[in-house]
Amino acid sequence: MSHGAGGKATHKLIEGLLLPALDNPALAPLDDAATLPFGDSRIALTTDSYVVRPLVFPGGSIGELAVNGTVNDLAVSGATPLALSAALIVEEGLQTEILAHEIEAMARSAEKAGVSVATGDTKVVERGKGDGLYVITTGVGLADQELNLSSAAVRPGDKILCSGTLGDHGAAILIARGDLELEAEVLSDTRSLTPLTQALKDTAGAGLRFMRDPTRGGVGTVLNELARDSGYGVLLWEEKLPIRDVVHGACEILGIDPLYVANEGKLLAVIAPEIADAALEVLRNTEGGEDAQIIGEVREEPARMVVMHTQFGGTRMIDMLVGDPLPRIC
């Protein structure tokens, strides 16, 4: 199961099994979206399957996630999302109203994100063979040929921008599952990132080096991948991390680190230092980016590692997560 949590085990699965078997130039960079030549332009292509329990949670539902998540994988690769396909795997016995609600949610989110759901498929599986509903979406977008977004473009001194508060989605899901008997107002942050990525492209141009949406595995995982792939170090300032009090509180109680908690509507961007403050300003003036912060920067040293300057005045390492984050006993 830990192979699905986005941490070290997931990496091993992808790099040990999938990559060697399917190896090709479009897959090899293992980016959120692959790009393929198409006439004079380049097409961006991505796919994702959505397995969520519960199907509906405070602030969103699986239908919204399935649209926004795939749109966001296109957006953070710098592409303009064009259309989606959607495949639904429905478990026998799922109530019609629930299915209708999710289709409705998909339609609404697609409209908001400015994409169409152009094709689809449905399958029904026996009762007990699925968690009610799985959704698989594939997205096609037009890649931006001016941009060179990759970990190789990152330079020491570059700033790390985060578009808003961390951990809202993961905390909302944890609380909504109800195993914890915690009651708190936490809403998932699921949203399309296209307005934010567009704003950054317009402002920073070539100063925009790298973008990711820190979903499963959280900010800690994305920054570890960046450090590993770029060969540079990443330094974070704990006091700059935007975290809602209620999420912070829930994480303190559960013994979970918000840096590894999933987000569904947040953007991490690496920006050249001279343009970082302007980019921050633009993010803050764009819907969904009001709480944006510069949370850290790229350093020469310590190479391939993420460290954090703690609020308390010390430093600690932020390692790749191993498996799912588990609550501590005391």
Binding site: T310, F312, T315, M317, D319, R328, I329
Partner: protein, 374 residues
Amino acid sequence: MKYVDEFRNAELARAVSAEISGLVDPDRHYKIMEVCGGHTHTIYRHGIKDLLPDQVELIHGPGCPVCVLPMGRVDEGIAIAERPEVIFTCFGDMMRVPGSRVNLLEVKAEGADIRMVYSPLDALRIARENPDREVVFYAIGFETTAPSTALTLQRARKEGIENFSVFCNHVTIVPPVRALLDSPDLRLDAFIGPGHVSTVVGCRPYEFMPADYGKPCVVAGFEPLDLMQSILMLMRQLDEGRCEVENQYGRAVLWEGNLKALEAMAEVFELRPYFEWRGLGFIAQSALKLSADYADLDAELRYSTPGVRVADPKACQCGEVLKGVLKPPECKVFGTACTPERPLGALMVSSEGACAAYYNFGRKSFEKVEIGSR
């Protein structure tokens, strides 16, 4: 966040840090053991080592209940969890503790009904809601969690819930500390006492540390400033030549402890004659089992667990690390054969274990990295 930020104030931290430095004898090396795994976690999470002078070294003690659990006990839990009639419940960080063959996460992925709970009362609720299933709670922890297990058993008895039982692995804090103090290769100057355990047992049980072994002890809270202040209190004792038990965690710990909790424990539990500790071996009277009155709710009896012993891996040097003889990275297998993904030894298992904390948060020394704020 209220009640948290106050205890993480960087300005106060610098002031306490300066005061500690002022008390250090430059020619002396101080080794202070934090007994509790929760403290180890705080130390790494907030980077407390960066605020201490080089002469003050923190040694991470045996107080991580997950880490010290011997492999045989894990295997026995797994065997119960695999029974089709059983809903097996446990705390989250038990899930990844390696048995000799698999861990609970793997057994769960294979289809066993294993549920993570936050309190034994949740396990009892599951039993109430599933009268046709057998619900087993895998109890672990020091005196911190033992009272909640005791109260749950009392409630199960009162409500007449019969499809519930407890696999008891509760341990006590004083015997392993005494075992460490008796060890000939021990080199410690003072102890940071375990705050959570002390909310239950109070401060009195530690009086043997200054009295019999001449080691000062300060019971500490879990925020970073609590720890800094406790280290300062210990340094003052060492500087002034005092040697006593002091209570830094006054907002939660009474000198006499929590009498009601102790009473509940006394009713439900009795001491085992001996218990095996991972990395430390057998220690007399160091663990609890259900008393004769509660034998019918004892999973060990209900499932006649055989009491298998699985020896610790030979290469593992957890015992030396626990005694402060070796630092985590000085162990032969640290970071190579033994990592948080595939832990070999006890201390790599839970995020509170000394080696896991060191691996996750402090593997590299960052002193040379200039870390000024933006």
